[in-house]
Each structure stands twice: as C-alpha cells, then as structure tokens.
C-alpha cells in the first residue's frame, strides 16, 4: 500500500465523521502537556537571558582582565586605551571594587563598592539596563555615592541623605571573627558620603548589592588586599563564538603592554566570571524541562492507550481492509500514521497555545494578580482587615517584567520529539491491529 493511501485511511478514520472521543482526548492530552513545556522554555529562557544580560552589561562586562591593585591611574588608562583598540572590542573601562559596610541612620548593610570609569555610565549596554530612579546615575564628587534601589530601600535612605561607609584600612583587613579570633589588626576606615543617585538594574540581587563611588573615592578607599581592580571590556555580540578569539587578542595586547605581571589566565569571559550562577540557571531550566517532559511522556502513553481502544473499535474495519488485500505492514503503517497525525495535531495545538500564553505571560500574570487582589480585597473588607496587595512574581526575587525569548530551534526540537514519541507509542497498537484475523471477525459478526 502506498504511503498516501495509508495516510488517507489513518486521517479519515481519525478525523472522519465517526471519530472517537478518546482520540480527541489524546490530541488534547498531547497539546496540554506541551503547553507548560513551551511556557517553561520561553519564560526561563527569557528570565535567564534577562538576568544574564543585566549581569554582563552592568556587572561582569563581556570580558574582564584582572589588574594589580598597584596599577596607577595613568598606567591603567594606557591599558584601557590599548584594549579599546583591540579588534572586536567596542569599549573598555577601568573598575575597582571591594567589600564594605554602609551605615545609614536606621540600618546598615554589606555592599560591593564600585568605582568605575565615568564612560561606564554612558555605555549603551549600561544605559539600557541601569535605570535612573532618582538624582544622577554617575557619582561625580569624592563624597558622592549612588545606590542600587533595593539597597537604598534596606537602608531607608533617600536622595541627599548621609551615609557612612566602613572599609578596611590599606594594611589591615577584616578577619573572620569568632570566639578567640585575633582582632589586633582590625582598624576600619570610616568615610562619609551623600546619596546623589538611586539606580536600578531591574533585578533585586544586583540592586541590593551596589554602591557606586567616584574613581577619586575609589583610589582612596579601595586599596586593601581583597579589593579587585580590572579592565571591563564590551564587544559587539557577547553570545557570538568570536568572543573566544577576542579574548585571545585581548590577552595578546595585555601581554605586550604589561609583560611584568600579565598572564593569560587573568582574562576571563562573562560565562567564566559568573560560571556557577549561569550553571545554576541552566540546571534549573533543565530540571523544569525534565519534569514537564514527564507530563509529555504520560500524554504519549495515554495516546498509546487511546490508539489501542481505537484498534478495538475499528477491528472490523481493519478486517475489511485486510480482506481487500492490506498487508500486515500496511495495517501497521496506518496505525503508526494515526499516532503520527494525533501527535502532530496535539503538538501543533500545544505549541500554538504555549506560544500564545508565553507571548502574553506578563499580561496573564497581571490579570491573575488583579483577579486575586479583587477577591483578597473583598475578603479583607468582609473580615474588616486591611488588604495586602498580592504579587505573583515578587520583583524582590524576579525580574519586574518577564522578557520573552523564543528559541524556534528548541521549539522545533520539542515538536519533533513529541511527534516522534507519538509515532513510537503507536507501534504497539499498530502491531496489535496487524494481527487481527479477518475470518474470525467476520465469523463473529
């Protein structure tokens, strides 16, 4: 029997006038199981890309070259200019950072003090992701400090408020405390700053971490052993494979400029700088997809079961087809075709629904929040209690808005797997169908 004839019989039997509810259920089952997979894929990709972008544009840069703390301003500037001229490099910045404690009138918090080149604040990537909430984004004076929005909130400070920053002295750093610890070297440096700006990267982990100070203040404060000086480099496309070759060119340039101290291991790409973070994102995504994948397998098994019922319901038709000369393999072909069609329809349905839901996920979350808050307000009113606004995705822990990132290659792969799985599970009912005895059925009827 030709493939066209098998496909025609399978499609007509499944989608004809007498189609069974079981097969519609199987199609729906495959479709429904694919919706969360597509959602998880798109939302997690969007979240990961959103967070990764924020990290690499505002914190890790695309490439980093560690530099000695002793590097003087003019020497560092020479390096920055040399790096900017490396092919593939779009911009290079000098940054010094280190740990400290910020103390306000009401609270205190550990922070990462960042002293960056003034050009950093006009970098296109930084401008895109570092949003100015209040004041100025760039600390200009030696007493200016710009805080991340979450940090400002924790410290209960606003624009113009004074802060004390505690850092270790040049020679005497904080030591790990504890009973019996030696505190003889503990000699903190207290510096006073005024809040001149509040910024947000739209991600709480970053906003709770930063305090930007001017390069002048950085030279003065960030010179203790654990402070870190480096060149931050931006390239055109940090996801491109060319990042590796740019890294080599950067190392080459640095080696010829600083033969005394430079070593290639000091150059790191953005995935290398935050390796554990990105690995954790990837693992979480894989686990979620694995769990959702189990739902797809269950749906495929359900399809196999529906096809078995379909075989029983159509056993007389199968007998007639065999009577007309259909071979065992032709009958198997028809039922594998039926599995393929069912899986295909379910896959199309599920992927379309998943895409539609994913594209509107922010709207959906807002809608659900709105409905939940109406109920909550009503309930609070009845109980005579004040209502508390419910947030499904608390921006304290997630991005304020989920970015949508559709990887069509991955979606095509999921679709192909889903259809292939449907065809595979149909092999058993197909084999069962091919063993139906014509004369037995005719005799029984």
């Amino acid at each position: 029997m030709t493939f066209g004839a098998s496909f025609f019989i399978a499609a007509r039997s499944l989608l004809g006038r007498k189609r069974t509810g079981g097969m519609a259920g199987a199609i729906l089952g495959i479709g429904i199981s694919l919706v969360p997979i597509v959602l998880v894929l798109i939302v997690s990709d969007g979240m990961i890309e959103g967070i990764t972008r924020r990290y690499m544009e505002t914190k890790t840069y695309h490439l980093q070259v560690a530099a000695p703390d002793s590097m003087a301003g003019s020497d560092a500037e020479k390096g920055r200019v040399a790096l900017s001229a490396v092919p593939g490099v779009q911009a290079a910045y000098i940054e010094k950072n280190g740990s400290g404690v910020v103390v306000s009138a009401e609270a205190s918090n550990a922070v990462m003090l960042r002293s960056v080149s003034p050009e950093f604040f006009v970098d296109p990537g930084v401008s895109q992701y570092l949003r100015l909430i209040e004041g100025k984004a760039r600390p200009e004076g030696k007493r200016d400090i710009v805080l991340g929005s979450s940090l400002a909130s924790v410290l209960h400070v606003k624009l113009g408020d004074s802060l004390t920053v505690i850092t270790p002295n040049q020679q005497n750093e904080f030591t790990a405390g504890g009973i019996g610890a030696d505190f003889s070297g503990y000699a903190p440096r207290l510096s006073f700053f005024k809040v001149t700006g509040i910024v947000s990267a739209g991600y709480r982990d970053l906003d709770a971490l930063w305090a930007f100070i001017s390069p002048e203040a950085g030279e003065r404060l960030l010179n203790y052993p654990s402070s870190y000086s480096f060149f931050g480099i931006k390239v055109a496309d940090p996801y491109s494979n060319s990042l590796g070759s740019i890294k080599e060119s950067v190392s080459g340039a640095m080696e010829s400029l600083y033969p005394d101290w430079f070593d290639p291991y000091l150059t790191r790409t953005w995935p290398e700088v935050e390796r554990s973070l990105y690995r954790s994102f990837g693992t979480t995504k894989s686990m979620l997809l694995f769990i959702m994948g189990i739902a797809l397998v269950v749906a495929a098994v359900n399809l196999g079961s529906s096809l078995s019922t379909f075989v029983v319901e159509h056993s007389m038709d199968i007998a007639v087809l065999r009577g007309m000369g259909a071979t065992d393999s032709a009958i198997r072909q028809i039922f594998v075709g039926a599995g393929f069609i069912t899986g295909g329809l379910g896959t199309i349905l599920g992927i379309l629904a998943g895409l539609i839901l994913s594209l509107n996920v922010n709207f959906l979350i807002s809608g659900i929040e709105w409905i939940a808050n109406i109920f909550d307000s009503g309930l609070a009113y009845i109980k005579g209690q004040p209502s508390v606004a419910l947030k499904l995705l608390d921006p304290e822990y997630y991005l304020e808005k989920i970015p949508i990132s559709i990887d069509f290659a991955q979606i095509a792969l999921i679709a192909a797997l889903s259809i292939a799985l449907s065809a595979v599970v149909s092999l058993i009912p197909a084999r069962k169908a091919s063993r139906i005895s014509v004369q037995e059925l005719i005799r029984k009827s």
């Binding site: 066209g4 004839a5 007509r12 006038r17 007389m316 005719i442 009827s445």
Partner: protein
C-alpha cells in the same frame, strides 16, 4: 482442466475446539471456467462461507488443492495472500462491511487506491461503478446514511473496482427485502458479466441460486450438483 479459473480438489477443512473436531469440508471438488457463475446452497453451518473464505484466501485449509487463476493457494505463503486478494478477488458479504468513516465513493475507491492505482484514477473508477449500480446520487453519503440495498450496491461496486477475476458473494441478499434482493441479483449477474468475472455465490435464496450457471448444494462437507 487447464481452462478453469477456479479449481478445488479434495478440499478438506476441519475446525478443532477443545471438545471436538468439526469436519466442515470433507473433500470438496469444484471447477469453474472464466466468466461463469455458480451458486452454493446449504443449511446454516454447512460450510458455505468457509468454502468462500478458503477460495478468497481469507482462511487456510487442512488438505487438498485450491488453484485460482495462476495462484495455487495450497502452496501460497501468508505474505503472498494479500496480493492475491487485492488483485484477483472481490468480496461481497451479507453484512456490507463498508467502512463507516468513509463515504460511499471513498469506500469503493479505497481497494484500488490501496492497490497502487493513482488517487484520481481510483476515484474516477469508483464514480463510474457507483453510477452503474445506481448510486451516483448517493456517492457522498456515509454508510449510516444509506439503506440496506444501497449499502449492498455500494459493496458490489467496491468488489468490482479492481476488476477482479473472481467475485465471491456470501449471502449478498440475506439481509434485504424482496425488491432490493431482486435489484442485487440483477447487479450480481449483470455487472460481473460486463467485467468477465467468475462469480461464486453462497445463498439461501433459491431465486438467486437459480440465476447462476451452475448450482450446488453443500451437505455433509461435500458439494452436490443440483
């Protein structure tokens, strides 16, 4: 002998159950020439349907020789039987056995399409046959929308679509009223004559049996000429 299209010699078929062995065919001999027709009468359970199933390649047999056209069924493998059925034989059953999800036209076209005939040609053949059996107006209707007579006429058209050399009809009028039975009888002995097919008919209906060139009665597992 060589001009026979169907030849059965000493055909024996037993059915074994746990309790007993049922000797259904105890040495059937039958010779039919191309284009001829024969009817087989007999009481229920006498083995008429079994004989037709054996000649149609639907059922095996214990011993004897059955040759249809160039096919020696006694030496044919399981894998060769589907080809034999699709190329050489057309079946008409008491219960039409039309596929319920397919229209009358599709039911008729399907055996040809399955047999490798291009879709357009298979549908054209089916349309022409449905016209011949008076079903042109009802070609797009589904089996559940057709009367018993219409279903059987469709089944006859289906049996003829691959232009088979042999048509095996098992109680084709068994389920029909007198008028419809008459119409089917006319088709059974009219249409195959056009296509030159040999017809074997198992029936309880004496009028239908009378219309055949040869008449047999199956009793005690053997064919008796009438």
């Amino acid at each position: 002998m060589s001009d026979s299209i169907i030849s059965c010699r000493n055909l024996i078929k037993n059915f074994e159950s746990q309790a007993e062995i049922l000797h259904v065919l105890r040495g059937v001999d039958l010779e039919l020439t191309p284009g001829s027709s024969c009817s087989i009468m007999g009481s229920s359970g006498s083995g008429k349907s079994t004989l037709l199933s054996i000649i149609g390649g639907l059922e095996g047999f214990d011993s004897g020789e059955v040759t249809v056209g160039s096919y020696a069924l006694h030496s044919l493998s399981e894998k060769e039987l589907p080809k034999y059925r699709s190329c050489l034989v057309g079946f008409v059953f008491q219960f039409h056995y039309l596929l319920k999800d397919f229209s009358a036209l599709e039911n008729v076209a399907l055996p040809a399409y399955m047999n490798g005939v291009p879709r357009k040609e298979a549908w054209a053949r089916a349309e022409s046959l449905l016209e011949k059996v008076g079903m042109a107006e009802r070609k797009d209707h589904f089996p559940t929308e057709l009367s018993g007579g219409e279903r059987q006429r469709t089944a006859i058209a289906r049996a003829l679509v691959n232009a088979p050399s042999v048509i095996l009809a098992d109680e084709p009028t068994g389920n029909l009223d007198a008028d419809n039975a008459q119409a089917i009888q006319e088709l059974m002995f009219g249409l195959p004559a056009i296509s030159g097919a040999t017809v074997i008919l198992a029936t309880h209906d004496p009028r239908l049996a009378e219309a055949a060139d040869k008449r047999f009665f199956l009793s005690e597992g053997r064919l008796q000429p009438l």
